[in-house]
Amino acid sequence: MAYSDKVLDHYNNPRNVGSLDKNSPSVGTGMVGAPECGDVMKLQIKVNDQSGVIEDAKFKTFGCGSAIASSSLATEWLKGKTVDEALAIKNTDIVNELSLPPVKIHCSVLAEDAIKAAISDYRTKQTKRVPAAQTVA
């Protein structure tokens, strides 16, 4: 099975590889895995607390080319989006953009799961800060 040019491009030049401070309240971390293929994917977002816009996104994936490309593309798409817009990213968008074959669709599902996990982690951190924010208001 041949990888599409876009997958190869992301695989050879992955965007936004790295990590953000997972202890920062503005950072959400999503760690997901696919036991059937042994992949692990970590995706992080840094959100501007005022605007709710994702300022930075980083990932690190141990897995096949499609899993790496899916998470690389996801971080590109996340930057500049609000958290709500980010939640609207669907795995099918990734499948279409990367022309993933049916056997690799689970890689895009993993990337969508990672986005959702990162956002959920960020929101959990935010709700924990709410009492402090309310006293200000």
Binding site: M31, V32, G33, P35, E36, G38, V40, F62
Partner: protein
Amino acid sequence: MATSCWNCGAGVSARFCPACRALQPPPSDYFAIFDLPRRLVIDGKELEKRFYALSRQLHPDLFSRRGAREREYSLEATAVLNDAWRTLRNPVSRAMYVLKLEGFDIAEQGSKEVPPELLEEVFELNMALEEMKAGDDTVAPQLVEARQRFEDMRDEVDHSLGDEFAAWDTARNRDTLTAIRGLLNRRKYITNLIAQANEALANVSDRV
């Protein structure tokens, strides 16, 4: 398997009709084709013995002068037997097969079923391995050590699997199957790490 013979209508609960000796359609269940109960602990020697005996008994050559239906059944039976042998002789594929039969589909589970601690651990191990791979050839001993650690982890998992297999055979508790699935997930990650360590070591020795 108690039905009636397709050929003579006699009651059949075996591979061949007791009345007319016609070969019956094979079961699709891998345990059934070996006449074994659905158990996770299997005697490998016994399985092998049955495999060779059945292979001889069901071989398509023996049915070349029989009717089309029996020729077809012998082909089908041989195919099921070969799949069953490949699946049941290996404890991991055997366990995955039983999980599937019991309604746990291992290939369709979402990431949410993997414990976060396991993902963290695997991620860290992968990071360490990647660092070693990027290093110069002096990392070979470190890689060997890492591989040994992963192999020890795999052996531990296999040991636990053995215990859980025995537990399921006796009590048929669904929680045991959940535990087995967790162990299989962990095992998959560990064998991936071993493969990567091997690959890295092969590259190191190529350069030396």
